[in-house]
Every structure is written in C-alpha cells, then in structure tokens.
Amino acid sequence: MSTPDKKEAPKQIMFAQACNMAMAKAMADDPKVILMGEDIADEQGGGVFKVTAGLSEKFGTDRVRSTPISEQAIVGAAVGAALVGYKPVAEIMLMNFITVAMDQIVNHAAKLRFMSGGQTSVPLTIRTTTGAGTGLGGQHSDMLEAWLAHVPGLKVVAASNPADAYGLLYSSIMDPNPVIFIENTPTYFSKGPAPAPDHVVPLGKASVPREGSDISLITYSRGVGACHAVAEKLAGEGISCEVIDLRTIAPFDEETVLKSVAKTKAAVVVHEAVRNFGTGAEISSRIHEELFSELKGPVGRVGSGYAPVPFSPAIEKAWMFSEDDIEREIRKLLR
C-alpha cells in the first residue's frame, strides 16, 4: 500500500488505496487520529477489504485498534474519545451493520454537541462501505444514507473517485462534526488519477465533473459514473448533460445544484438507494421549491426498486438503478 510520504505517488490508484492514504496522512498530521474497527489492524489482515492495510504497522496498534464484533461499543468508544479531543475513525464493516449502532450514531454522536449547549463536540468519522450488484444479497448491500441525512448534526459524505475519496476522507476526519463517510464496495478496486499528497476536498461543496447546457444530472457515489456514461452516450445525439457530484450528501451544496439547474432548466437526481423516500426526494423538492417556474418539467428521480436487494443476478439487475433508467428520465424531460 503506498502512503503519501512515499517519494512519488502512483499515477493511478484504487479507491480503497485512496482511503488508506487519506487515513495515513491524517494520522501522520494529527496524533489524535485513531482508528477502530473489526479486523482493521494488520495482524487481523488490515481490514476485510484491506482499506486499513499497513496502518497499524506504521502507527501502532494503540492507534489502529481491531475490535470485538460490537458495533455499539465501537461507535460508543469513538464518541467518548471524540468528546475529549480525539478524532476517531470508526469502521463499520458494512453499512447494514449501522442498524445495530444507530443509537450511538443518532442519539449520541449527532446530539451531544447540541444537548451540551456546545460544551462538548464529537469530531468523529464513521467509515462504512456498501453497494449492490455483486450478489451479496439482502443484508450486505443497502444504501442507507437517507436515514443519516435526516439526522440534524450529522454530515454525510460519499466520494465517486479515488482523488475525491482521498480529499473528502481527510476533510471528514479533520471536521469538528460527526461525519458518515460512505464507501462503495463494488468500486473499491477501480482506479482513478492519484491526488497530490496535500489534496483536500472541502465538505459541503459539490463538484461539476462535466459541464452541460440541456439538463443537470445530480448524483453521488457510484451514480456519478453512471451519469457520465449516459452523458457520453447522449452527447452523440447533441444532448448536453451537466453532471453534479454532490460529494457531501447532507447538508448538501444547494448553491451549486441550484446554479446548475437555473442554467439548464432541467434536472434528474440519481442514486443507487431505493427511490422511495430516498435522498433524491429532498434534492428534487428543493429544486422545485426554488426554481419551479423556470423548469422545463418536473425534476426526475432515479433510484433502485422498492424491494430488499435480491441475491440472484437477474433480479438484482432488474431491481437496481441503471443507465437505462437515467436515460429514460432524461428523454422524458427533454422530449
């Protein structure tokens, strides 16, 4: 695993590697950064997806702590350490497992600053990964960011490429608020340009990886790749799509989103999570509330189907959000 202080960073790095490098840099920069999670230390393999590989060897097992299978205890310990000056990074192996830690996340991490009248704060980062499409089935694939986005006091972040992952995870760790950093298992090992060691991406700022004039595609995480693919395809037909990568899902960058849609006058919100009551609903509503009279038509929404994640590839594919869905929504709006 390469780490920032290595002479020259590789031209291309994997998403998982970028997360590893961001943690390495944060730990090198600030002795108060510690990691906790199941099997994250090198003795235990450096994480089931090797995202923390090499870190315990480099920083010691006092700071990179493998834990029992106890998500409540993991998040709780991170909350407690954060209250007294640590910047813990807790790994919840898969996002479905936050369901056993929601009390610590929602009733405590998110609220202690407020309930204490600002006397304490919880500069905690929870890293977790998830994503469908590889046959992990109903309990290992859910995208649950909508829950966390609904919780005042939490920031929710998801990167779509290695460089952003590096810059966003570093910012998340250094942020004075509790941040949920959502990684994407299926794209852990896909590569992208390596960031400069000092590359930082501020929280709360969306990016516009592709400019366009006919429609705005607002998305995050794996949705960005899908939107790019569709934008490419439609460019051939002279349809110009602007792609917005939210990067921070909550609180999200309304300014960038509204500026884009004010220009294109049309928008489709895209995410992998179940469409019903997903984050796309909030983004769509905000656009309608601010730009209703300027819109060519209603903001479209693309998400996955109303069902648990199916195991069998055939069903999983039919259930999952797709480039076809995005294209259909775009055409519906521009027809």
Partner: protein
C-alpha cells in the same frame, strides 16, 4: 469504617443531594417547575461515596436519574438548577435539560436518557485516558435494568479486553421502572454478569458509606494502576418511584417499610454523631447546603429562557441559517 473526614465529606455531598431532591419535588409539586423528574432520594450515599473517591478531573457518565451523581461529582448547583429549569444560564444553555446535564469542568461528560448507552461512551473516555496516560478514571453510572440491554454487554467486554480505566457503577435499586429486578433479570446478581465477562466485580451495600467508599477506592486504585475495569454492584433503593408521580404501587409494603428503615441518610448522620461530630457541626453543613439550594433555586427562577433562535446554534460547529 472510613475516616471521620471522609464520612463528613460524603455526608456533605449526600445531604446536598437529599435536600436538592426534596426541594425539586416540592417545587415541581407546587408548579414552580414543570419538568419530568427522576427522584434520587435513597441513592445519595452511593454516588457521594463514589465521587468522594475520585477527583474533579476524573470523568463521569450518567443517566436521566443522575442528580445525585452530578451533584456528588461537583457540578455547581446554580448551573445545574438553571439547566433543570431550561434557562440560558444552565450548564447546557437550556438545550439539554435535566436528562442531558453536561459539565466538563466538573468532569460530567455525558448524561444520557437511553438505557445502557453511557457504557460504550465511558469506554471511549477511558480509552483516551489510557492513550494519554493522564491517570484519569471514568465512572459510568447505570441501573440494574440496564444490565439487560446489549450495550452493557458490548461495553463491559470491550472495557475488559482493553483493560480500560473505567468503573461501572451499577446502582441496583431493585427496580427498573415498575419491574422488579428478578422479573426481568436472568441472573441473581449483576456482579455475576461481570464475572461471566471475566471482569473484576464486587457487590456491596451502596447505602453504607464506609463499605461503598472502600469498594470505590479499591476500584479506582485498580484502574489507575492500569489493571483494568471494575463492576461495582451497589445495592440501594429509590423511595419516590421511577419518576415523580409514580405511586410505587408495584413495591410490596413490607419491602418499602424495610427500605425506609434502612434509609442511608439518617444512618450516615448518626455515624457522624457517633464519631463525635457535633450536632452543631452537622447542622452547619446542612444549613450551608440549604443556603446553596436557596440561592441556586432562586437563580434558576430568576434567569431568562434562551431565545428561540438558539436551536440553530450548536447543531454543527457553525450556526445553521434560519
């Protein structure tokens, strides 16, 4: 028997707690305060003896029924009363209220309303102390009923595996809400559960100042020596039900009568007299506590409520736009 000055210290804290509890119930009863209140009358000695064994810098994590722990730990009465009353002068500017009293200056880091949830957080505070080698201990208070929830188990296991400097003080008042311990608890004692988890565990009469203090001291030394956590099951009782208004109908008459006979406060007071502390000296302590409460209660009543806009502050590090 603990030293005279230790017992005086414990009595001074415990009497402040007892008088505060009585005053809160009086003011709520008379409508001067409108809050949900969890009485602590009967559990004064447990926390007073525990907190007498630690320092101000040491950490405390407690629960909704936490007035006794918070006062024993040393939160200034004015700040505490103002928070109970929801005033801007309160520990938490009125945002947290009685169930979330927080005062880092006194080491009171978290008060939670979720049963058992303080335990994992206490581990985090203790972990920080272990890493910083600052010699602090963390005391985590909870009830007997909390020993049935998952966070208790996960928290004790992690604390033991990591040998954290934390003391789990289970204040066993024999009831969780209206449920007697035996009805919902598979083991005869909570101590036994700590042992099942391989943790140093003791069961003491928490209402006996000397016995409780000795157990607390031992656990504190054990923790400071880096040997790890201790579970203290402190037997006690609550005289005024789960929350104010609860008639304790579910407590057998004989049990209540016996508990009242064993009321720790008159017993501790008598112990002081037996140790030749003069009635006058004791009365002076009580009068001083009364004065503290008079001032704090008045301060709470006189203080202003926070402005509505406060809800946009302290959600994140930056103020939320209206």
């Amino acid at each position: 028997m603990a030293d005279k000055d230790v017992l005086i210290d414990i009595f001074t804290r415990a009497d402040l707690i007892m008088q505060s509890d009585i005053r809160f119930r009086k003011m709520i009863g008379s409508g001067q305060l409108q809050i949900v209140y969890y009485p602590v009358r009967g559990q004064e000695v447990v926390s007073s003896a525990m907190m007498a064994a630690i320092n101000q810098e040491d950490y405390l994590v407690t629960i909704y029924r936490g007035l006794h722990d918070q006062l024993a730990k040393g939160i200034p009465s004015k700040d505490l009363w103002a928070e109970f009353a929801g005033k801007v002068t309160g520990t938490c500017k009125g945002k947290g209220g009685p169930m979330h009293i927080t005062h880092p200056k006194s080491g009171v880091m978290v008060t939670t309303g979720i049963v058992g949830s303080g335990i994992p957080i206490a581990n985090g505070l203790a972990l920080a102390s272990q890493l910083d080698k600052d010699g602090k201990v963390t005391v985590c208070c909870f009830g007997d009923g909390a020993s049935n929830i998952g966070a208790f188990h996960e928290g004790l296991n992690m604390a033991q595996v990591w040998k954290l400097p934390v003391i789990f003080l289970c204040q066993n008042n024999l009831y969780s809400e209206h449920t007697p311990m035996a009805f919902a608890t598979s083991s005869e004692t909570i101590k036994q559960r700590g042992e099942g988890l391989g943790m140093r565990s003791v069961r003491v009469n928490g209402n006996d100042a000397s016995e409780m203090y000795a157990a607390a001291k031992e656990a504190v030394e054990y923790a400071r020596a880096g040997k790890g956590p201790t579970l203290i099951e402190a037997m006690t009782f609550r005289f005024h039900g789960h929350l104010l208004g609860d008639t304790s109908h579910y407590i057998p008459k004989e049990e209540m009568e016996q508990a009242i006979k064993d009321d720790p406060m008159p017993i501790l007071r008598q112990q002081l007299l037996d140790l030749q502390v003069s009635e006058a000296d004791i009365a002076a302590i009580e009068a001083k506590n009364t004065a503290i409460i008079d001032e704090a209660a008045q301060f709470a009543l006189d203080s202003d409520y926070p402005s509505g806009d406060e809800y946009r502050i302290d959600v994140l590090d930056v103020e939320i736009a209206a």
